[in-house]
């Protein structure tokens, strides 16, 4: 049996680690390479780097971050943020990332998913989405709307429909981030996760709201997620990877416990 995965997300701005709360009040809190190395040593299963650098002329800093991580960290990691073309994706993959994460650019240009999938294989393409609960209405029957530009721009696109379309286009995995839950540490959006798990047959990574081990347990069991993504609770050292994994393992979830 596959183990459930514990994934840490590192937001990187101008080469520094940052973590936002509900996408605002972003502050720099350290070196992403050092954080990645520490989490790897502590038994993390996978990493996601999200480049939130605003200006495109500083994007090369991210390539340096990716390549330093790749020479010290031997678990899979994906990179997202600002990837608009197959060439952009190719650069981070050559720098040593295992997968690419596409979000806003894929909404603007869905062919990016299919092109990247053809070029690198579906296993390489992660469709990441920021989702806000809006209540069921005409263009959004599921009641969950896709929001882009780092949570700023609503699109009128139904999140469940977008997930299914992403899978058809060739995405190999979904990261479903609940904007309502993000940064609250009050638990993942279980209903949203369940809807996604039942709508697609690719792995679903739940994101947003993980504040304590019980939340991870809920989203991996009741929510049906294949992996749980965490950020602040690790970055602010509220829990260690070992504590999270031991809790989940102790409650009967198969986790990678030897590292």
């Amino acid at each position: 049996m596959l183990s459930k995965r514990l994934i840490a997300c590192l937001d990187v701005r101008d080469g520094n680690l940052a973590k936002s709360v509900k996408f605002v009040n972003t502050k720099d809190i350290g070196d992403p390479v050092a954080a990645a190395k520490k989490y790897y040593e502590e038994g993390l299963d996978e990493l996601v780097f999200y480049d939130i650098t605003a200006s495109s002329d500083k994007r090369d800093i991210m390539i340096d971050v990716v390549s330093s991580v790749a020479s010290q960290v031997f678990i899979p990691f994906s990179v997202g943020g600002g990837l608009r073309s197959v060439e952009d994706c190719s650069r981070v993959l050559l720098a040593g990332a295992e997968k690419v994460n596409v979000n806003t650019a894929a909404v603007h240009n869905p062919a990016l998913i299919s092109r990247a999938s053809r070029a690198f294989g579906a296993q390489c393409v992660v469709l990441s989405m920021d989702v806000r609960r809006v209540g069921p209405a005409e263009p959004i029957p599921s009641g969950y709307e896709i929001v882009i530009n780092g949570g700023r721009t609503p699109t009128g696109i139904d999140a469940v429909e977008w997930a299914k379309r992403g899978e058809r286009l060739g995405a190999g995995e979904l990261v479903v981030n609940s904007i309502d839950a993000d940064g609250t540490k009050a638990g993942y959006d279980i209903e949203l996760t369940q809807r996604m798990v039942h709508s697609v047959s690719i792995p679903v990574i739940a994101s947003g709201g993980g504040g304590k081990p019980e939340h991870l347990y809920e989203v991996l069991t009741e929510g049906g997620a294949d992996a749980a993504l965490v950020a602040s609770i690790l970055h602010y050292e509220e829990f260690t990877i070992r504590e999270l994994k031991e809790y989940l393992h102790g409650r009967g979830i198969k986790m990678r416990m030897r590292y």
Partner: protein
């Protein structure tokens, strides 16, 4: 010097980076002579079997690998590389290298909750000892990403197995060739130990 075979299949730099980290000299090459005369070879890869075998043939790397195999050069296959050392792959109905008799087949799972590709960390069980596997302990997990798996004709060529509804071969080998379906270069310390063991192995069959 270890030669890492470049046939346009996926990210070959991750194997190189892992070897650099271990302090083991290696080079990525598409040169058939470099492969033919290599001290040691790693044959990695991610991608489509038929497409990749076609590239191998165009570059003359198929015969170079066969020659190296018959010269007792230690060879490590990884993921797609492992699938291609068999005689055939169902992915694109590809005639492969045939270093080990067998076929590469797609997962055909009954459980709707199990996804293909089989992607993530899974434990392996060693069924036959091998120098490359000497440090594997009960509960060690490795990183897999694949929709097809190798099925050698002779069970004696299976060294480790993995469970994913069915039991499938996770590591196969014959003579101076050893090959894993999982990615040791992405499997943390357990994977690095395996790469190190391969580099210490003289290619003597067990």
């Amino acid at each position: 010097m270890i030669q890492i075979v470049d046939y346009g299949a996926g990210n070959l730099t991750s194997v190189k980076r892992a070897l650099d980290y271990l302090g083991i000299a290696s080079a990525v090459t598409a040169d058939s002579e470099a492969i033919r005369n290599a001290e040691r070879i790693i044959f990695p890869g991610v991608g489509h079997a038929k497409t990749s075998v076609d590239v191998l043939r165009q570059r003359g790397l198929d015969s170079a690998l066969r020659d190296a195999f018959s010269r007792q050069t230690p060879i490590l296959g990884i993921c797609l590389g492992t699938q291609i050392v068999l005689s055939h792959s169902d992915e694109g109905d590809a005639q492969c290298l045939g270093l080990i008799d067998g076929n590469c087949v797609r997962f055909d799972l009954r459980s709707p909750s199990l996804k293909v590709p089989h992607m993530g960390w899974n434990s392996i069980t060693v069924v036959k000892q091998h120098p490359v596997l000497k440090d594997v302990e009960e509960g060690d997990e490795f990183y897999f990403v694949h929709s097809y798996f190798p099925r050698p004709q002779d069970e004696a060529h299976v060294f480790a197995v993995c469970e994913y509804e069915i039991t499938f071969p996770a590591a196969i080998g014959d003579k101076n060739l050893f090959a894993t379906q999982f990615h040791p270069e992405k499997s943390g310390k357990a994977g690095l130990a395996m790469l190190k063991n391969f580099c210490d192995w003289d290619g003597t069959p067990c």
